[in-house]
Point group: C2
Chain length 412, copies 2
Amino acid sequence: MPVLVMKFGGTSVATLDRIRRAAKRVGLEVAKGYDVIVIVSAMSGKTNELVGWVNETSPFFDAREYDAVVSSGENVTAGLMALTLQEMDIPARSWQGWQVPLLTTSAHSSARIEEIPTDNINRKFGEGMQVAVVAGFQGISPEGRITTLGRGGSDTTAVAFAAAFDAERCDIYTDVDGVYTTDPRVCERARKMDRIAFEEMLELASLGAKVLQTRSVELAMRYKVKLRVLSSFEEPSDTAGTLVCAEEDIMESNVVAGVAYSRDEAKMTLVSVEDRPGIAAAIFMPLSEAGVNVDMIVQNIAEEGRTDMTFSCPTDQVKRAQKALDDAKTKGDINFNDLVADTGVAKISVVGIGMRSHTGVAAKMFKVLSSEGINIKVITTSEIKISVLVDRKYMELAVQALHDAFELEKSA
Amino acid sequence: MPVLVMKFGGTSVATLDRIRRAAKRVGLEVAKGYDVIVIVSAMSGKTNELVGWVNETSPFFDAREYDAVVSSGENVTAGLMALTLQEMDIPARSWQGWQVPLLTTSAHSSARIEEIPTDNINRKFGEGMQVAVVAGFQGISPEGRITTLGRGGSDTTAVAFAAAFDAERCDIYTDVDGVYTTDPRVCERARKMDRIAFEEMLELASLGAKVLQTRSVELAMRYKVKLRVLSSFEEPSDTAGTLVCAEEDIMESNVVAGVAYSRDEAKMTLVSVEDRPGIAAAIFMPLSEAGVNVDMIVQNIAEEGRTDMTFSCPTDQVKRAQKALDDAKTKGDINFNDLVADTGVAKISVVGIGMRSHTGVAAKMFKVLSSEGINIKVITTSEIKISVLVDRKYMELAVQALHDAFELEKSA
């Protein structure tokens, strides 16, 4: 029988009543003839509580013990979900990560999945079981210890199961009803997309549209798992949510799929840096070692052997970046006249696989911003994305203007 | 190095602060040169919460899922205890039941321990680990599923580990400071005993002095594990608590060790039962099948082929007992004139291994009660125990009078 993977996030299993509502959705898919694998998160708030206890107990904790503690919330929901399904006369049982076993690396608290043997669960499906409920977020290391996959890891668990069992689809139930062309809180004309390409989703997710863990989208792209994001609080329907899928599964698409933004960006400029081979490495190695997440990088044209180097990073990392660069200057590794930090900027990006075949998107974007009187401070582009830094006070205006200009309220 | 087992109950690990206090006690024993195995319960209240969720989800639950859910509380405390010890620079790690593995039968929610292989933990002790923290109450079935040992099962886990590792002693940390000659709330002259024999503890535990799970005492008796019951809220001392040990480890003891009582007893009398071979089985089989815990049984002398049969059971099982006996009468399995239930009685017992060699304890007990004007309704005796049923209103008086008469406030 075809396999369907259904993942329920923390808010979808926050109470016994919500677990019952989730189980009813599982029942609908069972009735359609699917063998269902349900992946559950911990009840909302539980994992945070456990993480808090670990941090309070041991600030520099042993990650193996962290994993043993924080994985327990998922075990509770897995058992309760199996019991709820049984009460509905649906043959079901729970699996903890080590029982599957979901084999991972030993990188505790951020382990990577190595393999998911399918024989145990498939044998049970063969014996008449209709739903396998699996505790998300957790696995077992080669040493036989419990591992976890990092926050949001249950999404990745779900996609990995969908890949391993060759599932027809992987439905991610959450508290939003899909992926939007932009944040509806910023632009009321934001439209829920029916479909979005993996590549677009990756750009949107890493830009702040935090619907799915980025790793889960990467994994889905690699194994061509059809991912559907939908709300567990809406009435079931075949067209609910947003399907995240391969480019070839999208018949027609807008050139621009969505507009993303990131509010807490800072623009850092090294003024009059000595321009020589290896200078970029000399600047960005110390930043990397200091844990600064450098995003955009722009180097101006050099004059007389000196140049200006600009980069962006989250505002809360500005001090760390300044210290790293000052230290490098003191040590003589780099030489610059001034370091200017502008912590009042925001990043706006337009994303769309259609850009690959359509020209003029960048030009149109710049014209729209210009006609609104918004000054662009930094520009970077990739194959399917154009990002700019603007003054933060213009952020909402920029998002709305771009959403309108690219007619994102209309579907393709 | 000698092994010590230390078990901390739910109130002793109820908060991070209490876990730290418990860990300090573990540190004291490590400093004495012990390899320590710590058995932890769930934080107090956690297991009740989980059991509540299971019951609400599924009144006739699948015990395998019940076990998967309710065992999770111990995993949390095991990890937190290991982290706390590590913070004190004591090499420690946590084990869940399946990791040891603690092998049990498949009788989910009331599994029995089959074997505890010692090689994994001993290897770690050999590598310099000083404390193994084990999640109590849980094990793994031959089918690879999580099992639990029944409520209070962490006591049994602790004793089983002490037996498997040939521990010097098994310390049970709880919220009472030891075993008393009687309930201090009923008799203010109650005295904490320094030592008590396994057999006495078994009689006192099953009679309501609920300090230790009865199974753990049975197991300790079989494997001659020295059990110490003590409070985690008192200052550490070598003479703290009560040592539960073999008779031969007690130099000198009172004839009577303690006075126990049970408040909620009912006395049921079948009046004028047809007296024939097999009548006892015909009465008590249906009661057993109805789940009635029959305690004392007394049969009066038969006259003209009929007799009165009296038994006691908990008051909340009276209706169930009445229905079972009425049904048996309707079916013609037994024949009686009347069924009289007296729900206003209490059971008083005096317990002591000294009774084996001393006569006159029963006579003295009856005389003491008589001189207080207390009528005895039913008497049963065993080798080391004499129990009587009296009107509940005399319960406290009876306990106090017996405690005084046998001079239990004085140690041997």
